[in-house]
Amino acid sequence: MVCQCKYDAEIGIRIPRPLGQGPSRFIPETKILQVSKVDSKTQVIFEDTFSTLGRLDNISLVMGFHPQYLESFLKTQHYLLQMDGPLPLDHRHYIGIMYRDTLESRHCSYLVNLHVDDFLQVGGNPKWLNGLEGAPQKLQSLGELNKILAHRPWLITKEHIEHLLKAEDHSWSLAELIHAVVLLTHYHSLASFTFGCGINPEIHCEGGHTFRPPSVSNYCVCDLANGNSSLDEMQSNQLVTDTSCEVEALMEKMKQLQECRDEEEASQEEMATRFEREKTESMLVASTEEEESAPTRDVSRHFEDPSYGYKDFSRRGEHVPTFRAQDYTWEDHGYSLVNRLYPDFGQLLDEKFQIAYNLTYNTMAMHRDVDTSMLRRAIWNYIHCMFGIRYDDYDYGEINQLLDRSFKVYIKTMVCSPEKTTKRMYDSFWRQFEHSEKVHVNLLLMEARMQAELLYALRAITRYMT
């Protein structure tokens, strides 16, 4: 097929062309909701997003699978970034750029690029982009918290908080700190989501487009739609036949657990060991997948801190102290603290957590009317378990039964080093499940991670305050 695109090239105008195939690298474009075909509610949400941000980013498109959540997510994000709050606008976006610091192979250009643009748009000082050294002392001091929060939140102590609040000239106020902490955790978890769903860069961002005119060797945009997706479908059909019993097996297990819960009552030691086992195991489920690399705007070099690389965070063999969930819960303690210092935001976060945790369509792959609460709880608690948060009233043996290894690898990678997530990982877990369900899992992961980090940070702040 001869492409009319060539003409453009001859005229001499460089036209940016989308690199990827739709919003996500992992999910074929045809499976993603078409903006034109969504139901009216989602439509309204999309329109709102578009009109506030002037764009409909890929994240929103992918989250569009779950409009109920998307609405809450956007509301929270809007409040966090645009509405009244203790931090000035440029600081907020700068903290968004800072999160990148926490990634090992810093090629997550997606969020950073978005925020670099926003940062400059709200009148941020371009010098700050040259690295943390270029930023005011106050923001620099946040760097430490950022890194710990992203990788080892259990290490946050009230000394960290004190250090930030008591710095002579560049001290933070409590309200500002809460805002910053919420921002940091928001971006950390959002990073998990973008990698977990393989979100493609926006077309206007670097890495999101190419100027190379499409040629025969580099397939044309026009035939992308049919050719590629059919291949994808073929693959997935194949997979279905391979592992058609996977879903049934999982459902059977859930049923069993539901029934025999009362029968065998594990001893307390047994319960404790089960938790410890999951916790240590989660440390070891290391990703063996090799990384992909992608060229990006080179903000990273400035943000690198050679003395504090991700390698230091290797969690192998490290003991994560246990955090008793009942002693510091989001509902009782976290909410009150956030709402006190950052009015109304506790409410928004609370709603978002609840929607994410309770979201269900009572379906599993092709089955209808399934109570998925057990599975959702297992995923949520597994993630908290990785952060050392233990629920007394949960039998961690269930996790082992419900979550298979490839799924655990995926979760672990996404939470700990999201930039290593690959399409293979994404494809290899829960093979017959719908994409929307995988996105749902991603939402759970994202919120659970955010809550875990928040709990640690807020606990430290509470300890500082008392």
């Binding site: 329109e47 709102d48 307390q268 030691e269 007394d392």
Partner: protein, 784 residues
């Protein structure tokens, strides 16, 4: 206190006595509960489960229930309750979902009796039936409540709240079958224990989780609930629809609420986060706690009144690993520290001032006032309430009326309108302003302007010679000795000060003149120090009396009331005001008295010029920065006088000459107060000019705030609430450029005649060549 102790010990061993005391626990506690005889308390937490005996002046550890090599999670308690009928029986709610009962009568070390593991999630609350020995109720995170018969191995009934987690369950004290349950989603449900299928009644009590509820011990229908929304609400459940009768707003989420025994309107609360104090509220007075206990250093997790019929002892456990016994008489009374004073301006400049009567009546020889005074007294009477426990504070309200003629702010308005702040050379501005001030009979200000001109203008410039003052007539003007200037100013302020010294007396007289008393402090119960203690002791004595005599029903009205005594209203003593009228006015409205200085300070100015003439002429080449300190002082002087107008005008006119000398914050303050004043006088133009001319970023951006423009959709004519260019209702882009037919997101310009428009650039381009509307409607568009 001693007296009381003596009294109570004399009454026998059954009486409760003690003092404020505490003991260290090994670990943070989650909940506490007392034994029926009020002699022992059980403390439960994640890592602690102990029984303490409460002795006269200490806690003694009696028993550690946490036994075994590896304590299981069953010991990790979220809640504990001691049976009020059987003193050997305890129940705990474990964080792993187990409900455990303990029998202290067991001979072995492990006192665990029964274990129910029916709940799937953490159990938040256990509650024994108040009269039935074997009935236990539990509420769990999984949304279920279960009722156990302790003689059986399993629960006898399960109640499904059909909603989120149960946070608290409480048996009604008076109603045998009823219990209340509070939920995480803000609901409260009432259940009949015989009907596990459906709740009797449900209502939404709070916004967000309801952490606790408590039935009133005496009043059948009252239920107090506390929630994350920082409120304590008291509900009357006797009517068909639960009615909120009291609401107390606290400063943090409410974790526990407990009615105070023997006091109908009192309840104690503690918070879950941030706030470590325990408050006792009188629900009828929701704005200030009746009493506060401030001993704990971390959040209080459990509170319980030590004895069912004794309001004087409160026990509390906390995250800071201490167990406290609080004596009510040792509590702090925030009311005593409160400052019942209020001040308010009326619409026409009247000033109302209310203060505690005791403060105002300090002056015994009050001076009455002559006829025709503008101040008038207002009486307000409060009907004495026999159950009122607060010391009544009688306040005095004075209203001061401003006399219009004297305090007219005409000068301010005129000055604001006539001053020139920019647009001319500096010297001319100064001269103009000096003239304005002089015309308005404000010679001091006028002179200041002239001085400024002299200080800062080019000495060689003869154009400034047409001065208005005598000083201005001297050819070389920069010749003041600085010392003299400061002396001059100093003498002015001294004079002013001496006048000020005079003033307090006048104020005092004024205030006391108009004193109004309503002496309705006819009874005094638990209020202030002296008599309160006495009363308190007596109340206790009486209660104890009752107990020793085995009276089961407490007195209906436990609040102690002295017989009503009314003090006759004092006569108003009349006298003639000694202070001159105009001074009083100034005292009445210090805010607007910026002009008073000028009217009085004519003399110093006179002397001023004399000094300047008398001095020989110095080197005329003094650099402008030389004057900065003085100007700074002048500025401050005016600001302190309340004449921000002068201060700001100087600031603007002097511009860079002085700006750096004054710190940003002060400038900002000056600007904001001046702008505020201008806007009050509706001098919008002047205020805008000032904002525009200011160099403070904070002030400049005032004009950029609330610049919202409300528009309607061009299609469906409805307001576009959300965004500028897309309509929520008809989903059409509303603002389309008539030239390029794209949506306009930035500056949209349109003709007011035909309401067509578009991008600013496009329209400008279009109109360069054509005069008709680009939309083709034929209208001859006009743009300004």
């Amino acid at each position: 206190m001693e007296k009381m102790a003596r009294v109570t010990t004399a009454l026998g061993s059954n009486a409760v006595s003690g003092r404020t005391m505490f003991c260290h626990l090994d670990a943070p506690s989650n909940a506490i509960s007392v034994c029926r005889d009020a002699a022992q308390v059980v403390v439960a937490g994640r890592n602690i489960f102990k029984i303490y005996a409460i002795e006269e002046d200490q806690f003694v550890e009696k028993l550690n229930l946490r036994v075994g090599r590896k304590p299981s999670l069953n010991f990790s308690c979220a809640d504990v309750m001691w049976h009020q009928m059987d003193e050997n029986l305890l129940a705990t709610a474990a964080t792993n979902g187990a409900v455990v009962t303990w029998n202290l009568g067991k001979p072995c070390r492990n006192k665990q009796d029964q274990l129910f593991t029916e709940h799937k999630r953490t159990v938040n609350k256990v509650c024994f039936h108040p009269t039935e020995v074997y009935m236990l109720l539990s509420g769990s995170q999984d949304g279920y409540m279960k009722c156990f018969d302790l003689r059986k191995k399993e629960s006898v009934s399960t109640f499904s709240g059909q909603s989120e987690s149960v946070r608290d369950v409480q048996f009604s004290i008076r109603d045998y079958f009823t219990f209340a349950a509070s939920f995480e989603n803000g609901n409260v449900q009432l259940w009949d224990i015989r009907r596990p299928d459906r709740y009797e009644r449900m209502f939404t009590a709070h916004n967000g989780p309801v952490f606790c509820c408590d039935w009133h011990p005496d009043d059948r229908g009252w239920l107090a609930t506390g929630g994350r929304d920082k409120m304590v609400k008291v509900w009357d459940m006797t009517t068909n629809k639960a009615k909120e009768i009291y609401c107390v707003q606290t400063i943090a989420s409410v974790a526990r609420v407990k009615w105070r025994p023997e006091r109908k309107y009192h309840l104690a609360t503690c918070s879950m986060m941030v706030d470590h104090n325990i408050y006792v509220w009188d629900v009828r007075r929701p704005y200030i706690p009746f009493a506060t206990f401030e001993e704990h250093k971390d959040v209080t997790t459990g509170i319980v009144w030590r004895h069912l019929h004794d309001p004087g002892f409160l026990l509390s456990g906390s995250k800071d690993s201490t167990l406290y016994q609080h004596m009510f008489k040792d509590a702090t009374r925030p009311v005593d520290k409160a400052n019942p004073e209020g001040l308010c301006f009326g619409l026409f400049g009247d000033l109302a001032f209310a203060a505690k009567e005791s403060l105002m009546s300090g002056d015994s020889n009050r001076k009455p006032y002559g006829g025709g005074d503008r101040r008038y007294p207002i009486f307000f009477f409060k009907k004495p309430d026999p159950t009122e426990q607060f010391a009544n504070v009688s306040s005095v309200l004075n209203v001061y009326e401003t006399e219009m003629e004297n305090n007219r702010m005409d000068w301010f308005v005129k000055t604001a309108k006539l001053y020139l702040l920019s647009g001319k050379p500096f010297a001319e501005l100064c001269d103009h302003n000096a003239k304005v001030a002089k015309d308005l009979k404000r010679p001091q200000v006028s002179t200041t302007w002239t001085m400024l001109r002299i200080m800062y203008s080019d000495p060689g410039n003869p154009g400034v010679n047409h001065g208005i003052s005598k000083v201005g007539a001297i050819p070389v003007m920069n010749s003041f000795n600085m010392k003299d200037i400061t002396v001059g100013l100093g003498s002015e302020s001294r004079l002013d000060r001496s006048k000020g010294e005079n003033r307090p007396d006048n104020i005092h007289l004024d205030l006391t003149n108009s004193l109004m008393n309503n002496n309705d402090e006819n009874e005094e119960t638990e209020g202030s120090e002296g008599p309160a203690d006495y009363l308190f002791g007596e109340a206790d004595l009486d209660d104890d009396d009752l107990y020793t005599m085995e009276h089961d029903n407490p007195t209906e009205d436990a609040e102690y009331v002295l017989p009503q005594e009314a003090f006759p209203l004092r006569h108003e003593i009349v006298d003639n005001p000694s202070a001159p009228e105009h001074l009083q006015d100034k005292a009445d409205s210090p805010h607007v008295s910026g002009n008073e200085a000028e009217t009085v300070s004519l003399t110093p100015i006179e002397s001023f010029s004399l000094i300047s003439i008398a001095h020989p002429q110095y080197d005329s080449n003094l650099s402008p920065s030389f004057f900065s300190p003085v100007v700074h002082e002048i500025l401050q002087y005016y600001a302190e006088q309340g004449d921000v107008q002068m201060a700001v005008s100087m600031l603007i006119v002097l511009g860079d000459r002085i700006r750096k000398e004054i710190d940003e914050l002060t400038q900002e303050h000056l600007y904001t107060s001046y702008v505020d004043l201008l806007q009050r006088f509706e001098l919008w133009n002047v205020s805008n000019e000032v904002i525009k001319l200011s160099t403070c970023s904070a002030i400049n951006c005032l004009n950029q705030a609330s610049t919202t423009l409300h528009i309607n959709c061009s299609n469906c004519k409805r307001p576009m609430s959300n965004k500028g260019w897309i309509c929520d209702r008809c989903h059409q882009c509303a603002s389309i450029c008539a030239v390029c037919h794209h949506v306009v997101k930035g500056l949209f310009v349109w003709c007011q005649g035909c309401s067509h428009g578009g991008h600013l650039e496009h329209i400008m381009k279009w109109l360069r060549t054509k005069s008709q509307c680009p939309a083709g409607c034929g209208h001859l568009c006009e743009y300004t």
